[in-house]
């Protein structure tokens, strides 16, 4: 009895010690957050993000950030699989078109309680539109990241060499077509065209809608009827827009061969090496092009202008959002990191490094943003910008369009037939809802 009593006492002492010291041990623990972002694979953005992580870690010694690079095209697939396995990184960045899907799948934590804890005026620094767009069923599910309009980026030197005024970019689509023809040239006199007026990433990639929507919308067309129940891809306006885009490649030949295999980076490489004179891009274009070919002197040579107008002046908006994994073991630390990433200081750094425009009003009124020649146009055009439709079916609807575009450009089908097939497919997609 005496021996077992002694053992019991020893166990009790150890338990008491553990109970007393546990908070102290925990206080010394380092919380590790997994952070995934497609920008981590990019030269300029990747460096900027890693610097931001170092700043955050130095100020928060109890939190360690583990960066997990991912490709832009792969992110949705991987995060979905990880979310299903409750292994999604603690903090990730997503483009607006897939955010709704993640909200619906329950793959984003509700940020409302964290925002409420910050005080009533916390969200006042942001534009209302991004906050509204990232609110799902009355709850804020993501913190807005960058918010930009798509604009026309062009090369002043190539304009000048083609006899065009570099201070007068095309304002209408007809003007644009004429400019593109003049800019499509044989520059070395070997009898073969080696410079093209315009290029677009017409492979099936998530960057294509941002470049196509401004063109389609400005012709007065839309993909769906206003109630979102039917395809509007058979309207005269849509047919006109589609034919215009296709004929840039097939009739005017102002786009390089192989355009249906290009991704956004291919087009940036073409711009960096003076193979094309115009593209549709945004704030990120200049630093990436500059990194590809510093000899281009992109800051001086490239210029931004509003996307040409058709029946209406309109463009597409880019919006990204930071989401927290619903399964994170460290929600407080994850929120602290998201708050840091979306702070005025960090957003200012992101602008300085990457020329991306913030969804924070207090950043965009800073002189360095207002004085920048690219940002000035991008911020100004935000008033004409619309987001991609936030529908679960949107990727499939756009795939139908991209299929038709490729079929028409490559001659697999006449453009009318390709578009009609796409319209029929979209009707089928919408009928399932």
């Amino acid at each position: 009895m005496r021996r077992s009593g002694g053992r019991l006492a020893a166990v009790a002492v150890v338990a008491a010690l553990v109970w007393t010291l546990a908070p102290a041990i925990r206080a010394g623990e380092v919380v590790t957050l997994r952070f995934s972002n497609w920008h981590l694979v990019e030269t300029v953005w990747g460096r900027s993000l890693r610097e931001a992580i170092r700043i955050f870690e130095s100020r928060n010694p109890g939190i360690r950030i583990v960066p997990e690079p991912i490709s832009y095209a792969e992110k949705e697939a991987r995060y979905q699989a990880e979310c299903a396995a409750r292994r999604m990184p603690d903090v990730v960045k997503l483009h607006n078109f897939s955010l709704t899907m993640f909200f619906e799948l329950g793959c984003a934590a509700d940020l409302t309680p964290f925002v409420q804890k910050e005080g009533p005026g916390f969200l006042k620094s942001w534009y209302e539109f991004p906050i509204k767009s990232l609110t799902y069923k009355g709850r804020l599910m993501a913190m807005p990241g960058d918010y930009m309009s798509m604009v026309l980026i062009y090369n002043r030197e190539l304009f000048r060499a083609a006899g065009l005024d570099p201070n007068r970019p095309p304002r209408t689509w007809e003007e644009f077509r004429e400019y593109a023809k003049r800019l499509t040239r044989d520059t070395d006199g070997d009898g073969r065209v080696d410079q093209w007026g315009f290029s677009i990433p017409a492979s099936k990639n998530p960057g294509l809608p941002l470049r196509i929507l401004p063109m389609v919308w400005s012709f007065g067309a839309d993909f769906l009827t206003p109630d979102g129940r039917r395809s509007a891809m058979n309207t005269p306006e849509f047919r006109e827009a589609f034919r215009f885009i296709v004929e840039l490649a097939t009739v005017d030949r102002v786009m390089p061969p192989g355009v249906t295999t290009f991704g956004p980076q291919d087009v940036r490489i073409q711009m960096a090496h003076r193979r094309i004179a115009m593209k549709i891009g945004s704030g990120w274009t200049y630093p990436i092009v500059n990194a590809i070919n510093p000899q281009l002197n992109a800051a001086e040579v490239l210029e931004a202008a509003p996307v040409p107008a058709g029946r209406r002046r309109i463009t597409a908006a880019w919006l990204s959002g930071w989401i927290m994994s619903p399964h994170t073991a460290h929600p407080e630390a994850a929120w602290r990191f998201i708050k840091f990433l979306t702070s005025k200081e960090t957003e200012k750094k992101f602008f300085e490094d990457n020329r991306v425009i913030s969804s924070r009003k207090d950043v965009n009124v800073l002189p360095l943003v207002k004085m920048d020649k690219f940002s000035r146009v991008i911020v100004q055009e935000l008033q004409h910008a619309r987001l991609e439709p936030q529908l679960k079916e949107w990727p499939e609807i756009f795939d139908a369009f991209a299929t038709a575009l490729q079929e028409a450009i490559t001659g697999a089908k006449p453009w009318e037939r390709a578009l009609l097939d796409a319209h029929t497919r979209v009707e089928g997609i919408l009928a399932r809802r």
Binding site: E76, A77, Q80, M101, R192, S203, K204, N205, P256, P257, G258, V259, T260, T261, Q270, R275, K392, E393, P395, E396, D399, T403, A404, Q406, E407, I409, T410, G411, A412, K413, A418, R425
Partner: protein, 300 residues
């Protein structure tokens, strides 16, 4: 215990006990592999099957299969997959057989030739796709440069965007990548054919064609079936190369079943429909692999 027989106490002797325990020990050895198979194969397969019959609201039904059967894109993709597989596997067999015969013979630097011939098989699927995409690029691609330098074409060919050239380019890259696998299998088969048979045939006056037809081919029959079955299964599942080279385009002209399943699941978020497509693909693969399984079972 004295005076009680061993049988009455249930004692069965060391040799017999060992014999009885043998199956149990065998099961113990295969248990880890079995658990792994259940975890990474059976569980996902059952989950996919369950998803494929899950309807909105959680009820069960076969509507997704109905949709699949009436989806023209699905049938187009099935046809394209069949064409891709038949062309690739046929070319693999022809090239693989040729290469195996070459490296089995007394060619100079045979070892080096074997290593070089194996290299495409070593290259990962996606890397091979990216390399071929660059080779065939209409602006910077080396193939067009060579053709134009040799004055064989006037303008760069759009290998991956022309409706007729794109499927051919894909098959070309896939043939390059896949023939070494068939070569290795057939080489093993060639080396197992007894030399005496060739000598006897030669004594009977058989020429090289007759020796190939009446000795080599019959000797390779079983190995050819194995190579055919395994290669077909792999080619039906081919994903990385197609995705990296064309992404299924232009339009949907180079879509195959695996790229469609990926798109439906991960890009269009149609989990149930994609699962039905994956189940259909599995059934197709099972049908393709039946002759191989039957042959193995007959041997056993």
């Amino acid at each position: 215990m004295h005076g009680v027989s061993r049988a009455a106490t249930g004692w069965i002797g060391p040799r017999r006990a060992l014999r009885l325990r043998e199956p149990a020990v065998g099961y113990l050895f295969v248990a880890p592999a079995l658990v792994l198979l259940l975890a990474v194969l059976v569980y996902p397969a059952l989950t996919t099957l369950r998803l494929s019959v899950t309807l909105p609201g959680g009820q069960l039904g076969v509507q997704h299969y109905g949709q699949l059967l009436s989806d023209p894109l699905f049938w187009q993709v099935v046809r394209q997959t069949a064409a891709f597989v038949v062309a690739s596997v046929s070319a693999h067999l022809l090239l693989g057989l040729g290469a195996a015969l070459a490296v089995a013979g007394t060619v100079p630097a045979r070892g080096l030739f074997r290593v070089v011939a194996l290299l495409p098989w070593v290259v990962p699927d996606v890397v091979a796709g990216i390399v071929w995409k660059w080779i065939l690029n209409p602006l910077y691609g080396v193939l067009n440069d060579l053709l134009m330098a040799g004055r064989l074409v006037d303008q760069p060919l759009e290998w991956l965007t022309h409706p007729s050239l794109a499927p051919l380019s894909l098959i070309l890259a896939n043939v390059w990548r896949g023939f070494p696998f068939v070569m290795v299998i057939l080489l093993a088969g060639l080396q197992s054919i007894p030399q005496d048979l060739y000598e006897a045939a030669s004594l009977d006056g058989a020429g090289s064609w007759a020796r190939f037809r009446f000795v080599t081919l019959p000797g390779l029959r079983k190995v050819l079936v194995v190579a055919l079955a395994l290669d077909t299964i792999w080619e039906v599942r081919r994903f990385g190369l197609v995705q990296a080279m064309t992404g299924g385009g232009p339009g949907t002209l180079t879509e195959v079943l695996s790229t469609q399943v990926f798109k439906q699941y991960f890009q269009f978020y149609r989990f149930e429909y994609a699962s039905a497509m994956a189940v259909a693909m599995t059934v197709l693969l099972l049908a393709v692999s039946l002759p191989y399984v039957r042959m193995i079972m007959q041997e056993e």
